[in-house]
Structures are given as C-alpha cells and as structure tokens.
Subunit: 409 residues, 2 copies
C-alpha cells in the first residue's frame, strides 16, 4: 500500500506526550504524515506495566527505535523521541519546551486503565500521583515557559458519569437555573457535574479543575477531548509496514470492551459480558481519534477563551448488543460473568458530538465493515494470545467478584 | 488560670493529621481536654517552610516534645506524636491505622497558604503534590484498613469562589434545575460548582472529588468543613501555659488578613490593604474552629450517607471595613498597595452556616472584644517581629506587582 502524503497549510511543531501508547503512536504518525514536525515524549511506563502484568499487546509492537527508523524509511519523515517521566522530571520537561518551542502539545500521557487503577492501594496511588502530577507539570511548564502553546488533552466520556435523567450529555458545559434569595431564577452555564466510576476516571475530573484554573489565571489555551472507548487497531499510517503496527490490548486490565469481544471471538474464547451487559457506552474508531486530534489542532480556542471541550465519540451502544453483534459475526459464544465494577446494571446514554461534526469529522461507524478488519488482525496474531490474561481480575471493592467466566480460574 | 476539665460521654481515639499547625495544635489540646484519646501525626513541614522563608511565628512556639510534656504536666493527659509524611509514607500511615484503630481522623495536613502556592513552579508543584497525595493516601488507607473511621477534613470557603450572583452560598450542595430534551425541567442537587482563586484553593476543589469518590465507592464516612479565614491565636487550652502557645503567622505568605492587620497595628506598621479592599471574606475565631471540630466529631454522617459539608464560618466582612476597624481601635494608618492576587476588586459574600448553629455553635464574633486580646498578644511579642517579612511578595502572574507599601522594598 502506498502512503497518501498530506500537506497542511501551516506546519506546526507538535509534542506528543504519551506518543508510544495506543492512541499516541498512530496520532504521532498521522500528524507527521500531515506535514507537521512531531516530537514524542514517553517514559515507556505502559510497556513496563505489561512487564508487571505479565501481559503483552496481541500485535507485535516494536521498540520505539525501530518504529521511528521504519517511519523514516517509509515516509521519509523524522520524528524525535525523548524518554522522560513527565510526572517526575519537571526541569527536563521545561527545558524541552524552551528548546523545541512547540505550537501544540497533545497530552495522552496518563495511566488510562480503570481496572488497573482499582487493583490495590499501590495502583490507586500510582494512578492519582502519575496522572495529576503529569497534567499539572505540563500546565505549570507551559505557563512558566511564557510560550503560546495550545494544549490538547485526552479526557474521557467517563467524567460525566452514566445515567443522565433523559438529558443529552452536552459538550463539557451544562446550562442550569438557580434560584436567588428573592426567588428570582438565574441562568448559568457550569462545568458538567462529574460522577466518575473509578479512580482513573476520578483523576480526569481532577484534571478538568487544573485546566479551568490555568486557563483562568494564566490564560492558557486548552482543548479537552472527552473521548469514548476507542476500538480498532490500525490507521492508514500504521498499516504501511508491519513494524509500525499499533498496540492491541486484550488483557483483563487494558483490554477495552469492543476490541476485547472481537479478540475473544477471533481466538475462540467466550465473549465475556460483565453483569447484564445493560451498560451503554460511547465509542470511536482509532482512525477517527487521530482525525479528531487533527481537527482539534486546526481549531484552537482563542486567547481569553475558556477551556474548549469536545465530546470525541461517534456512536453509543449497549454492551450486550455489541456482544450479540460480535457473536453473530463470528459464531462465538457469550458468557455472562459477574461485574467487577461498582456501577448501575443498566444505563441510557445520549451524547452530543456536534462540535467535531461541524469541524468536518466524517464518522467511521461499526457498520463500516471495520469490525471484520479488527477480527482479521486478531486472528492473524491469535498465536500470541495468552488466554489466562483475558479475565478481569481487578474488582472495585473487596466484596466483589472478578469477571471470570465459569470454568476459568 | 485553671483548666476547666470536660468530659465527653463516649471517649474516642482520634488521630489529628497536621496537629503541629495553627488549627491542629489547639484542636488536639481541646479534644484531649474533652477526654478523647489523641494522637498527632505531622511531618513538621510547616516549621521547615518557616526555615525556607526565613520567617517565624510571632509567638514563640515550642518544639513538639516540649509542647506535649507541658500538656501532660498541666492537664495530666498524654498525647502521642508520630513524625510521618502522609504524602510519602503510605505504608507507615496504614500501619498506624491498624495499631491505633482510630474512631476519627481529623485532617489538617495540607500546605495551606495561597501566596506560598503561587510563588514559583516549585511551590505550585509542591502544593499540588503534597495536598492531593496526602488526602488520597488518607482515604486509600482508611478504605484498605477496613476500619469504620470517620474522616473530618478541613476545606476552605475559597472552593466556592467569590461572587455568587445574589445567592446565599449553601453548605456544599446547590439546588439546580436542568431542562431535558423534551423541555421538561428536572430538579437536582449537585456539588457546588467551584471557582478557586489560587493553586492552593484548587487543590481543595480536587480533594472534594476524592471525597465524593471514596464515599460512593467504599462507603467512607466523611465530613468536609469549608472553613473561613481563622483569626485569633489562643484558645482556652493554649492559654494555660506560655509553652503551649499557638502559632501566629504574620509574614507575607502565611499571615492571613485580620490577624495580619492586628499585628501590623500592634507593632506600628502600616495596615496594608491589597487593592481597594473591596473583597468580602468569611471569618471564624480559632476558639470556634476547635469547637466546630468537636461538633463535627459528635455529629458524624451515617453509613451510606453522602459527604457531609458544613460551612465553618461565623461572619463575613469587607477587607476595607476590617482595616478601618483595626485602624480606629489602634490609631494605625492604612496603606493601599497593589493586589498581588488575580481576583475581582470587589465582591459580595452571603454564606449559610445553619448546620453548625443547629448543632449548638455559639459564635465568637469580632464584637466580642477578642480583637483586643489578639492585639495584646501581638504587642507582647512585637520584639520578635521582622518587618521585612510582612509584605506580600508572591504574585499570581508574572505581570503583577507584589503588595508592598510605598517606601518598602
Ligand atoms: N484507549 C481508550 O479507549 C481511551 C478512551 C478514552 C480516553 N483515553 C485517553 O487517551 C489517552 C491515551 O490512551 P491510550 O489508550 O493511548 O493509553 P496508553 O496507556 O496506551 O498510552 C499512554 C502513554 O503515556 C505514557 N505515559 C504515562 N505516564 C507517563 C509519564 N508520567 N511520563 C511519560 N509518559 C507517560 C505511557 O508510557 C503510554 O505510552 C489517555 O489519557 C486515556 O485516558 C483512552
Ligand atoms: N488558617 C486558616 O485561616 C485556614 C482557613 C481555612 C482553611 N484552613 C485549613 O485548615 C487546615 C489547617 O490550617 P493551618 O492554618 O493550621 O495550617 P498549618 O500550615 O499551620 O498546619 C498544617 C500542618 O500540617 C502539616 N503537614 C502538611 N503537610 C503534611 C504532610 N505531607 N505530612 C504530615 N504533615 C503535614 C504541617 O507541618 C502543619 O503542621 C489546612 O488544611 C487549611 O487549608 C485554614
């Protein structure tokens, strides 16, 4: 396959924090392919967590050195890489801003698994410490640098909480009415009241307060993308060479719902539904993730404008419906297991995503046939799968049961 | 003066986190005097910050060893002390919970100065890291211990932000109405939308999200006290012996508004008003602080109840009115200096404090003659004052001017 080279009107210097991860890697390639000058910062903590969990990406991801060499061969473009812990090495981060003078920073660099964040006190504490200090260090360094840098952060739909009393979830801000002492009604717009479902999601609600503050006090220009669950694995760019392949998580901690179902079906493992499967979730394909980041970069907030919030999702589905769809496609069996999460067994979810649509997003939905493509990837690398890693073992409280199908350990 | 010994009906084991500080020390003595079994945890970071700032309490506070020896002499009661960094030494904290099995933890242990939190990136980062990890470690350890511990936390009125559109600030939760897709109005009660004025205040808004989460997921019983600016220095117990004396901060970072005015007047330094002095703030006397903590301990939330929030303040005043009052009392001059903070020049503030009043708080207001007592303390120790430490040098942005009176450095 040939690379369709793209050219942006204004070439920007873009630092991608967490550029070795599932969303960060294809985003880095996409932005580089668009003609931007990309630098990746990552401390490889996600790969180290794979070591800790004795789990691995289903797809054979290459070390960063190989990834970048191959990209240069294939696309003729250089991406720089800096190995740096953003939560710990503030001085190096600040120095990097002074040297690189980025126009944009895209911030993916957080611990992003809800089950991992609930495993033990150690994992809870790591998630809070890593995520809050990472985000705060980035904001603090931008303010200190004095540079006009547009920060694009990846948040989650999970900050809203699920179950919204018949309301369509707006993009970040909620219109409310309050009564004054004299009984007068006042209309206001507030940051949507949060109701996070795990320690991981909670850190994202804390991030929002950091953004609000640095925007107000230091005038930072910030876009916060409330992303749904990402599915798929490859993008136009990662498909170019096997050594550019993207991460595919399937283990009980990092495997997210639709991808996990497709992988389970592809390798002949039961499709495990937590609880009744009545949970409704928001989804987006990885190809749309990279496109949304591009759109967010092209449409920065103005100076003096408040934090811009987009809902980065294209469709919602009930988990059980997805399981049935995948089962029909593949003939795989569904197994209902106990829900390791503490959450309502069922919820509706209606989400606005008008902002990205108005900027030109053309959604890749489930119907687009890409389910088949993901299944093929999963089948191709099925020989690498370790079935013992599939069940969800982390529970939200000590009283709960892990999500293990009957007959499994 | 003789100690009026008090006896509670149920003696409780209470750990006071930050028990060496301005609010924590008199609270520890008060709870001990009430008959409770008190253990103090503190890492003495506040004393170390005095070293860093080359500043000191106006009053000659004694080392913890002396404080506790004198208390045992005077009151015949033993308070234990554990030197431990709650943000860093999680395992020791958890071990202490298992050994001490407290009924209540009172949590004062945070970096609490807004100007200090704004001094530099280092101070911003310290404040975020210390405050979030301290609060999270406490919550995580309580959940992990499996013990039924009531957590009482000191928050701030500053989480609400100032300027509330003619509304009386409720106690933590706000009644709102939202419109559904079909135009129906739904009433809800939400956590009051926050609008913090400094990094320090911002950490307290993040704390709220931590409380909300651990209450929801782990059923922790939590009381969050949104405290106004504390004034005064001594309480019934600290007055018993000079070596029990409480901290009196007057430096540009830790000196808070009313106490600073009284000290400035007492030592013949101009009473420095930041900006127009049109800011309205909420206040409480230190004697009422210790009484409020007692009331909060006596009235814990029930199991399954949401986080209980009290506004811990007794009156509001415009800063300029306070300056005039102190000036009239003392003959001291008022000096208007530039405001180092980024805030509205004027604001109204109406606050509900019905909850504490309903539990039996009998407020000590400014009229109660205690202004005179604070002035006397300040005069007594005026010889210890270092005038060069009085001006506020920390600014909210690089463009702003410090709050230094003309003629000062
Ligand atoms: N994957 C999803 O379905 C999804 C959904 C919604 C939101 N998001 C958000 O998108 C972002 C990226 O998610 P992902 O799936 O690519 O996660 P990922 O774990 O694959 O990637 C995150 C990357 O950040 C790096 N990182 C973490 N902490 C760091 C630190 N302190 N210093 C330097 N690098 C650090 C990791 O090494 C990793 O490469 C996350 O913030 C996540 O919360 C993801
Ligand atoms: N003083 C006020 O006017 C006021 C007003 C509103 C709210 N508050 C809140 O009340 C609480 C107490 O305030 P204060 O005036 O007594 O402050 P303080 O600084 O005098 O006391 C805080 C104590 O906590 C300790 N501490 C801080 N971090 C610690 C850590 N990581 N491990 C162990 N100990 C640690 C310090 O050494 C200090 O002794 C704070 O949370 C503050 O935000 C105070």
């Amino acid at each position: 396959m040939d690379l369709e080279r793209k050219h942006v009107q204004t070439k920007k210097k873009i630092i991608v924090l967490g550029g070795d991860g599932f969303c960060g890697w294809p985003t880095s390639l996409h932005l580089s392919n668009m003609g931007h000058d990309v630098v990746i910062i990552d401390n490889l903590s996600r790969r180290n967590i794979d070591n800790e969990l004795e789990a691995e990406s289903l797809t054979p991801i290459q070390p960063m050195g190989t990834r970048l060499k191959v990209w240069e061969e294939v696309a003729g473009k250089k991406i720089d890489f800096i190995n740096l812990d953003i939560a710990e090495e503030y001085d190096d981060l600040l120095k990097t801003l002074h040297t690189e003078k980025p126009d944009v920073i895209v911030h993916f660099a957080e611990q992003r698994s809800a089950p991992y964040s609930m495993k033990s006190p150690k994992h809870k504490r790591y998630t809070v410490n890593n995520n809050i200090n990472t985000t705060h260090n980035v904001l603090c360094a931008i303010a200190e640098s004095g540079l006009d840098i547009h920060l694009v952060h990846l948040g989650t739909m999970g900050v809203y909480g699920y179950g919204t009393a018949g309301m369509k979830i707006p993009e970040g801000y909620l219109d409310i009415e309050v009564k004054t002492e004299t009984g007068e009604r006042i209309e206001q717009q507030i940051l949507y009241p949060t109701n996070p479902g795990s320690i991981y999601h909670m850190t994202k609600t804390q991030d929002q307060l950091l953004f609000h503050y640095y925007n107000k006090n230091d005038g930072l220009r910030i876009t916060d993308l409330h992303q749904g669950i990402v599915w798929g694995t490859n993008t136009e760019e990662t498909k170019l060479d096997e050594r550019l392949i993207n991460r595919f998580d399937y283990d009980g901690d990092y495997g997210t719902v639709l991808n996990r179902f497709l992988m389970q079906a592809a390798v002949g493992y039961p499709i495990t539904v937590h609880g009744t499967g009545g949970q409704t979730r928001a989804f987006i394909h990885i190809q749309d993730t990279v496109r949304c980041i591009e759109l967010a970069i092209e449409n920065p907030p103005q100076i003096e404008e408040r934090v811009m919030i987009f809902n980065q999702m294209t469709e919602t589905h009930r988990v059980n419906d997805l399981a049935k769809l995948v089962s029909e496609l593949s003939g795989g069996e569904i197994a209902y297991v106990s829900n390791p999460r503490k959450e309502a067994p069922e919820n509706d979810l209606h989400v606005k995503n008008d902002l990205f649509l108005s900027k030109g997003l053309n959604p890749t939905t489930l119907e687009a046939g890409l389910l088949q493509e993901v299944t093929e990837v999963a089948q191709k690398y099925a020989y690498r799968a370790d079935f013992s890693k599939i069940p969800a073992k982390s529970t939200w409280t000590k009283e709960q049961q892990p999500g293990i199908p009957e007959g499994e350990e």
